[in-house]
């Protein structure tokens, strides 16, 4: 039987620590741009590195793979996190929603709008946008998303334009 399973559970790749130490800040930064919270981003980064540790991703491809995985995982969390937040608010526990309790209400609302706008973007646009603003070059974003470098600019431009429209549309109308 050849039911494929996660590679080598228990056998963690030997270069995990080296890759972790060089890539962790970048991976957290990518996830934080999506989630707007460093604490949640660190949770996502941990999850991504756990998966990476059991994978057979070639070392040379690790930085790109990790960045894309961080963006996807964080975008997934955004969705489930929003669901959780709605449930908590519905249950009257709204105060527990944001871990950044020091933030002002205005900032929190603004952040929520950014997150909501990101969640509504087409996935590829959202990932390209976040990777580009996390400092990946056009060539790196292109390689990570299997795009031509030429179309990275187009994808990022579209994402930024949509983000602006989403933020304007949902801005408080005061």
């Amino acid at each position: 039987m050849a039911v494929p399973a996660p590679a080598g559970r228990g056998a963690v790749r030997a270069d995990l620590e080296a890759v972790f130490r060089s890539a962790y800040p970048r991976v957290v930064a990518v996830a934080a741009r999506v989630l707007g919270s460093r604490d949640e981003a660190e949770d996502v980064a941990q999850e991504v590195f756990l998966t990476f540790g059991r994978s057979a991703v070639p070392a040379a491809e690790a930085p790109g793979w990790l960045s894309v995985a961080a963006a996807h995982t964080a975008l997934n969390h955004l969705r489930t996190g929003r669901r959780r937040a709605w449930r908590e608010e519905a249950a009257g526990g709204g105060a527990a929603v944001s871990p950044d309790v020091a933030d002002t209400v205005v900032t929190r609302d603004e952040r929520r709008r950014v997150r909501a706008a990101l969640a509504r973007l087409p996935r590829r646009q959202a990932v390209a946008l976040v990777l580009r603003h996390s400092g990946l070059s056009y060539a790196e974003v292109a390689a990570a998303l299997d795009l031509s470098p030429g179309s990275v600019g187009t994808t990022v431009r579209r994402a930024e334009s949509s983000l602006r429209k989403e933020l304007n549309r949902h801005a408080p109308s005061d």
């Binding site: 039987m1 050849a2 039911v3 494929p4 399973a5 996660p6 559970r9 228990g10 963690v12 995990l16 620590e17 972790f20 130490r21 962790y24 800040p25 957290v28 934080a32 741009r33 919270s37 460093r38 660190e42 980064a45 941990q46 999850e47 590195f49 756990l50 998966t51 540790g53 994978s55 057979a56 991703v57 894309v68 996807h72 995982t73 997934n76 969390h77 969705r79 489930t80 950014v114 706008a117 946008l129 976040v130 580009r132 603003h133 070059s137 056009y138 299997d146 470098p149 030429g150 600019g153 187009t154 994808t155 990022v156 431009r157 579209r158 994402a159 930024e160 334009s161 983000l163 933020l167």
Partner: protein, 359 residues
Amino acid sequence: MRHPTDGTLRRLLDEPSGVADTDREHVAGCPACRSGLAAARRDASLSRAALDVDATVDVDAGWSRLSRSVAADSRRGRAATAAPRWRAALRRPAVAAVAVVAVLGAASAAAAADWLQIYRTERIAPVTLSQADLIALPDLSAYGPVEVTEPRVRAVADAAAAQKATGLAVPRVRDLPRGVTGEPAFQVGDRVTAEFTFSAAQAARTAAAAGRTLPAPPPGLDGSTFRLTAGPGLAAVWREARGVPALIVARGVAPTAYSEGIPFRTAADYLLSLPGLPAAVAAQLRGFTGDGTTLPLPVNSQYLTSATADVGGRPATVLKSRDGLVAGVVWVDDGVVTAVAGSLGPDEVLSVARGLGER
């Protein structure tokens, strides 16, 4: 000349050197493009501000946390996941031997030197093995050389990539069970090939070491090679927050066996009569070696119980761990084996299995 695209204007902001000289010169002298560039700059800086966040991290603290999770995950993985346990079990040479012996069940007209398809998986049946049976099972290499290509399993970006890599339709889960959320990670594995060459001399030595005499091999069996192929395959894995797989949906091309052309039914009967194979196991295998279409699924009775069910009109085997932590269901449809397993109940895995669609 034509105006450069919005994408080119956007890149001009970040990587001017990546933009062709002709485009740069055009933009410098074109009011429409300069206005487009200004709009791109406004949107880019708005996005930068919107996405800005303080993300300074303590790498040492992060590494200690990951190290703890890796250790805990390995322990949990050994204790509570179905598919990896099957995989671990299947890696055991003794169990692989049972599978190989069992798939040699179909009789076929011999055609010398040609690889004949002698077996194609059309259904799966559990073979119950006690822990004692498992320990007693002989290693196939006791009967001759075995060469197995190591399956190359790797992560791919998404369902489309998994489909492209394997040529298989990726199952789509319509309704995730309670507690399973998010998007799955996809893994693919290449086709695996195993070749076993029966050696009468090696088998005789093994029998002698056990104080037994090797029954005389049927003519033509000594030195003849069997080839078993399986895969490629893919898996969609949903993980819980700490990386434990909550749900795995896997699909692969079911095993097929080929032979250089010897009387297979005879070979199978002979292999099942070899000293070392527990009688209870041999009897179960003999029960369905005749049809050449049933793949035995070794089930360790100490940990698992099996039952039968129906998925889309196909007979399916449902496995449940005795501790109630994990369950799985596996079935074959048109030469493709699909499995659904997870830290779920049997009803939940069956419900996922019956609700699977194609992407």
